[in-house]
């Protein structure tokens, strides 16, 4: 009895659901597979020995043919997707004709070279997997691009997106201009590959720099004093440093005044006031004048001491400003002193002269360690503010 000659009989014979009760069950071909209408049609069209097959004794052959049937289905549907999506218009043959031709060839191959069909199934699966992976990776990349990352990466990544668009253009070109499509594919692929390589290198470099920056900030958090200043310098935060230096200088200048004996300072002022008054009031006589002169001599020593103190402190602060200012900011940092904008609240101290003298000392002292560029700029500043 043929396998498809009497299906009902075969089902009864080969797939008796109660057969387990009667002991050893013969190995049979699956009933669902056997009654698959497309499989039956395939068997009729492809093989000529249907009536010689038995579901029990030939179950292995039937399994092989069912596998062949499934492979054929996969090849037909896979090739149809490829022609619809990527190769439409390559030939003038319409879709129905093309499907019929492919179907005829695959049926033939199923019998003559089933391994070739198996290999084709694997090739289609590999191609479709590569498409899915590409989509998945493109989505993943967009996700991280949207997530932020490091500033500037978006611009870099746009090059890759253009490369991706270029690939789609290549696909379209492949369909529309098949004559020289292969050459174009090779050329564009080469360019794209090179671009991707370059971008990868750039992004890897940026990633390295970003990590270094993060590590540097980590160090800064732990560092104090000079170490921190050194790191700040390395990170080109000179402007912030100079600003801090200037603030510190103002504060210290105030401290100098605060630390100075207020009483002496007041006395000095009072003495000068008296001195002026005496000079204007000759009528009070030489006795008073002599007394005042004696007193002023005494106060003059105080004044001289105060001036020295100011000079010493100012010298230290100037050194700080010069040391921690870059060339571009040096004039800006020293300007307030040279123009006399910074007041030490003493009418009796010529602040500008003090500053000029200190700067001159710096310029003249070859051993003070400042570099030639700064020395040159200081000379220029002295000349500029001389008048």
């Amino acid at each position: 009895m043929g396998i498809f000659g009497n299906i009902r009989e075969n089902i009864r014979k080969g797939f008796d659901l109660d057969s387990e009760k009667s002991g050893a069950k013969p190995k049979t071909f699956d009933v669902k597979k056997m009654t698959n209408a497309k499989f039956i049609e395939f068997m009729h069209e492809t093989y000529e020995d249907l009536n010689e097959l038995d579901p029990e004794t030939d179950s292995e052959v039937l399994e092989q043919r069912y596998d062949a049937f499934k492979s054929k289905e996969k090849v037909i549907s896979g090739l149809d997707r490829i022609y619809s999506k990527h190769l439409s218009g390559v030939t003038e043959i319409d879709e129905t004709e093309r499907k019929g031709m492919i179907d005829a060839y695959v049926k033939e191959q199923i019998k003559n070279d089933p391994e070739a069909i198996t290999a084709l199934v694997e090739k289609i699966a590999k191609f479709e997997k590569s498409e899915k992976d590409l989509d998945s990776n493109a989505r993943k990349m967009k996700k991280y691009e949207r997530a932020g990352g490091v500033e500037g990466l978006e611009e870099k990544l746009s090059v890759l997106q253009k490369a991706e668009k270029g690939y789609k253009v290549i696909q379209r070109y492949f369909q529309e201009n098949p004559q020289d499509a292969m050459r174009k594919v090779r050329d564009e692929y080469g360019i794209k590959k090179e671009k991707i390589g370059d971008e990868l290198a750039k992004i890897a470099k940026m990633a390295g720099e970003a990590k270094s920056l993060v590590e540097a900030f980590e160090q800064i958090k732990e560092a104090t004093g000079e170490v921190r200043n050194e790191i700040l310098y390395e990170l080109e935060l000179v402007s912030q440093l100079a600003e801090r230096g200037r603030t510190a200088l103002f504060e210290k200048a105030q401290d100098i005044l605060d630390d100075t004996d207020d009483k002496s300072f007041e006395e000095i002022k009072k003495a000068y006031e008296q001195h002026k008054k005496v000079l204007n009031e000759d009528e009070k006589g030489h006795f008073v004048l002599e007394q005042e002169d004696e007193h002023l001599d005494q106060q003059g020593e105080h004044l001289e001491g105060f001036g020295e103190l100011m000079r010493q402190k100012l010298s230290e602060e100037m050194a700080l400003v010069i040391e921690h200012s870059d060339l571009g900011k040096l004039e800006k940092d020293l300007g307030p002193y040279l123009k006399g904008d910074i007041k030490l609240e003493s009418d009796d101290v010529d602040e500008k002269s003090l500053v000029m003298q200190e700067l001159q000392n710096v310029v003249d002292d070859e051993a003070n360690g400042i570099d030639d560029d700064k020395r040159f700029l200081l000379k220029a500043l002295l000349i500029k503010y001389q008048s």
């Binding site: 590569s130 696909q171 492949f174 990633a207």
Partner: protein, 95 residues
């Protein structure tokens, strides 16, 4: 199978599209069986898949590598933000 067919199939196998496609079109106009013409379509698709799969895989690998870098950067940045925050760090530096 004729020698003409063999030549066309060799061109397709080698990926020589510029020569193969015109010959293929001519072949499809000739009097051949459906199975013979079907073989041409299968080989054309195979040749396309060979090239496209390679391009897809290379591009995919490049994107994967970039994604890994971006992921790494994101994680580093988030980790840093979690620990202290860039703004806080700056204020510490400037304090």
């Amino acid at each position: 199978m004729t020698s003409e067919n063999n030549e066309l199939f060799d061109l397709l196998k080698q990926g020589k599209w510029e020569e193969a496609l015109p010959a293929l079109r001519e072949y499809l106009k000739k009097d051949a069986t459906d199975a013979e013409k079907g073989k041409v379509f299968v080989m054309l698709a195979e040749a396309y898949m060979n090239v496209a799969t390679e391009i897809n895989e290379r591009e995919s690998a490049a994107m994967q590598e970039i994604s890994n870098i971006l992921q790494d950067l994101d994680e580093t940045e988030h980790k840093y933000e979690d620990e202290a925050g860039l703004a806080n760090a700056r204020s510490v530096i400037n304090s």
